[in-house]
Subunit: 531 residues, 2 copies
């Protein structure tokens, strides 16, 4: 049975590829956009605003390639603006390019704040109404679904309400069925949003009313929620809250928030289960950092650090979790740090020795060693692989490392081009000693390659694992390149991904530590889950 | 005159050092906490919850050292809990340690959700009321100001309202003047908050009512705002929103939001001007990443990327800024990317050539080169130093680099301990060629040292500048150590800090690129602002 039966349908309009791409540090190539649109389908029926054909070459290219990909263009919207002052729609390069994109849905924004008409368009208020009315009418005459974004509606509604409403009415006269009220500057409060939405619904009762807000006061999610409560039926936003300045309403938060509230049909249960993975996919695609503190989808969203919280959660998960992490495809994590109580460490140790009791001296020892290493700059929250190795040693399940590194050197000649570095490593496995030299692209890669070559014949599982991420953090910024650096690497083996850590003043040494933990952990995981 | 005259006073209670420290990746040493408390005074009259004496050695140490520092302990609060089940306050190790901290203000939390009493305390509902009443009474008998945190109040109020209210009344019977309603799990909606706050005010009218919420649904700021609108007079939160799971209400957002709303007296105008710098200071102290997208205080908060926005903002700042960035000590930034219109690039070029016109061919050329480099993985948003060098070359103001690097090699032997790396560089300045070898802690430091040694005698300004940050990002995570890496370094010269960038498969080469830009930029800035 469908859990959404009888609930009010809320349409999600996803502008990650357009407004999201206007966020600092967010970049999508044409290929990125194509893979995005392919994968978005798993999130269910959304509108995707994919770009502004004409504004930059990439967006034009996207719509062309998307057409050639022969996928149905339904629900992939092109974004643009009304025609320009004193120009007719037929002459408008902007509108021609929008129509040329062949998108069935075209969203255009128009000014609804008189300040913008005067200071930016430098046109009469009447002329702006013409631009809106005629541009919308033109798109509809071309057989397109036309959405109208009332840019800066809430600012305009505050300063000149009657004019802001005239702009809406111009779009409706033009034939728009869907009107989107925008808090473009993100300065509005929930009470402003409620007033604006209710007024527009009373005055015009458009077929569909959307809300598009920015997060400049940290209220984007609350303002979108308020708009829906006041009667809006379309929410616009971006995954991970990417977007201009502080970003747009965060769909990764808003979608589960509305869906789990119970009275709205936003996405399917199946889509909700994929929302954590999808949010991360979007961040990786865009190359922007993923905010791990994000509600619902962040790695920290259900991560418990304080000892008392962990103790409680193990008694009843509701005590410190507002929902079941599994409902959004996320998972609970018990963090190990100097804040950790015995409960945190015991929980982790019990993965390897289920019968371990709280008063076992090794629990105390583990706590002590972890706090000591964290004091030196280690941080195990993001390096569960290194943590596991530490705990396994304490439990006596990994008495000696599977191999020993007797020596290593690295030589780098960066002006030489490809394979500009050489690493020499000397390892001992059992009684056998192997010395290998290997080239690499950069010293860390050379070292990685040399170590894997030297060890692969003894531990074939190393051929299956790969390094998927490499992070460096300067621990004390004040010392520049002489500072202690922390390297964290993520290794993938099959479906599993885990982090390992190294800390040193020498970035190579820190990398080697993390690399050796990655290799040891791969070997151990390979042995413990054979096949 | 005081701009806060006649406004309603809102007390800020800052729990960054306690609840904030429970956030993943957030760490404060005792020394960190001492410098924090020293510096917090510039933010005006706040309560600072500095830790839980007894819960971990660091917090006990803090209160002791803070006492010895002879600074008045006023407004530095100690946090803890009620005494334990079937124990009297006089026997309670928790309460004794709290009193022992000598803090004048002591905040204790108690259960107000019956689920917690049953499943975590495993006590009778009556016993829990006794713990609350007697613990508060004991602290007051010891002459302390006792604040009561009603943990999970909103969840409790939803499931068993009468019991949740009994817990509040127990604290008041014990003599508490200040009651704080907590949304500990962060699952409440603004409407839940409003209902709870109004009910408690009607039933008990406590002298002061506080609100403490978490951000698990992205509503922490909105919920705090709602509580204040409903009558709460104390807001609890953390700078940068640090805290357990998704974090607490973000004071960096909430303080300016409430202050700029106009009807509340939260902090002084002078404090508001320091809020951006202070938020960054807190992040650096805690070693946690600073969210640059944060409202008001983030680097991106007033950063404009889309060409049309920049064009508008140069006509009237109100068009795309909800407040003047200067009011919160932040600044506008015009970003340069492939989204940039000519307006962005022109604005930047005009810093060096104010008379430059939009149709100058060099504007087009700059746009072209930037888009090409961004395509290769460069990102100038965070590397304004490298961007300026690029633009200066295009403008013909930096025809040839001040020096030439003929060759460099690096050798590293990480097992050797300190100074385990050697760099050999050969540079040409004018007609003079200098070859220098230098040791360093790690290859990047060795290269840095060698280059500076070789060049300092020609460019003394290099002795004044320092590298303050060093970041590495793997551009294509899927290729591990063989991937292209982007290095961004921040250099400080006097008060100015700027970034430079390098991109290569070899981390040393990428570092060298960024380093050489840093050096060139230092030399150029040294020349352009002599003295």
């Amino acid at each position: 049975m469908n859990q959404n039966q009888g609930k009010k349908k809320i349409m999600v309009y996803d502008t990650t590829l357009r407004d999201g791409a206007q966020g600092e540090g967010v970049h999508f190539s044409t290929q990125d956009k194509l893979s995005y649109v392919k994968r978005i389908e798993e999130m269910g029926s959304l509108y995707v605003e994919a770009g502004w054909p004409g504004a930059n070459p990439r967006d034009e290219e996207f719509f062309q390639q998307y057409r050639e990909s022969k996928t149905s263009l339904t629900r992939v919207a092109a974004f643009g603006s009304t025609c320009k002052v004193s120009e007719s729609p037929e002459q408008s390069d902007i509108l021609l390019k929008l129509v040329g994109s062949k998108a069935k849905t075209i969203t255009i924004f128009g000014k609804s704040w008189d300040l913008h008409v005067r200071d930016v368009l430098r046109a009469t208020l009447e002329e702006n109404l013409r631009l809106i009315r005629e541009s919308v009418a033109y798109l509809i005459a071309q057989g397109r679904e036309a959405f109208f974004d009332a840019e800066h509606f809430f600012d305009g509604f505050k300063e000149n309400p009657s004019y802001a409403l005239k702009c809406i009415s111009a779009a409706l006269e033009g034939g728009a069925k869907t009107i989107i009220l925008c808090d473009t500057n993100g300065g509005s409060l929930p009470s402003d949003i409620e007033k604006g939405v209710r007024t527009v619904l009373q005055e015009f009762a458009p077929q569909e009313l959307g809300i598009h807000v920015h997060n400049d006061r940290g209220l984007a999610v609350a303002n979108s929620l308020m708009a829906v409560e006041a009667g809006a039926t379309q929410v616009q936003g971006t995954w991970n809250g990417f977007g201009e300045r502080c970003g747009n309403a965060n769909l990764s938060t808003l979608v589960p928030l509305l869906q789990l509230k119970g009275d709205y049909d936003v996405v399917s249960e199946a889509a909700l289960l994929k929302i954590t993975a999808f949010s991360r996919f979007v961040a990786e695609l865009s190359n922007a950092p993923f905010d791990e503190k994000q509600p619902f989808v962040g790695r920290s969203a259900f991560a418990h650090k304080a000892g008392m919280h962990v103790d409680a959660i193990l008694k009843n998960q509701r005590t410190f979790e507002h929902i079941d992490p599994a409902d959004v495809g996320n998972e609970r994590r018990i963090l190990i740090s100097d804040q950790a109580g015995k409960a945190n460490i015991l929980e982790r140790l019990c993965r390897f020795e289920p019968t371990l009791r709280k008063d076992d001296p090794r629990v105390e020892q583990a706590m002590h060693e972890i706090k000591e290493l964290e004091h030196q700059g280690f941080q195990f929250e993001a390096a569960e692989g290194s943590l596991d190795l530490l705990l396994l040693r304490i439990l006596g399940k990994l008495n000696s490392s599977a191999f020993e590194v007797l020596d290593y050197h690295v030589w780098s000649d960066p002006l030489r081009g490809e394979l500009d570095s050489v690493a020499v490593v000397k390892v001992k496995v059992g009684e056998e000693t192997v010395q290998i030299a290997s080239e690499g692209n950069g010293p860390v890669n050379a070292l990685d390659t040399a170590l894997r070559q030297a060890l692969a014949k003894f531990f074939p599982v190393l051929k299956e694992s790969e390094l998927v991420n490499y992070k460096v953090r300067v621990l004390d910024g004040a010392h520049g390149t002489e500072a202690v650096v922390r390297v964290i690497m993520d290794t993938r083996l099959g479906e599993e991904v885990w982090g390992t850590i190294g800390v040193s003043k020498n970035i190579l040494k820190a990398s080697a530590q993390a690399l050796l933990d990655a290799i040891n952990c791969t070997i151990w995981r390979g042995d413990s889950n054979p096949g």
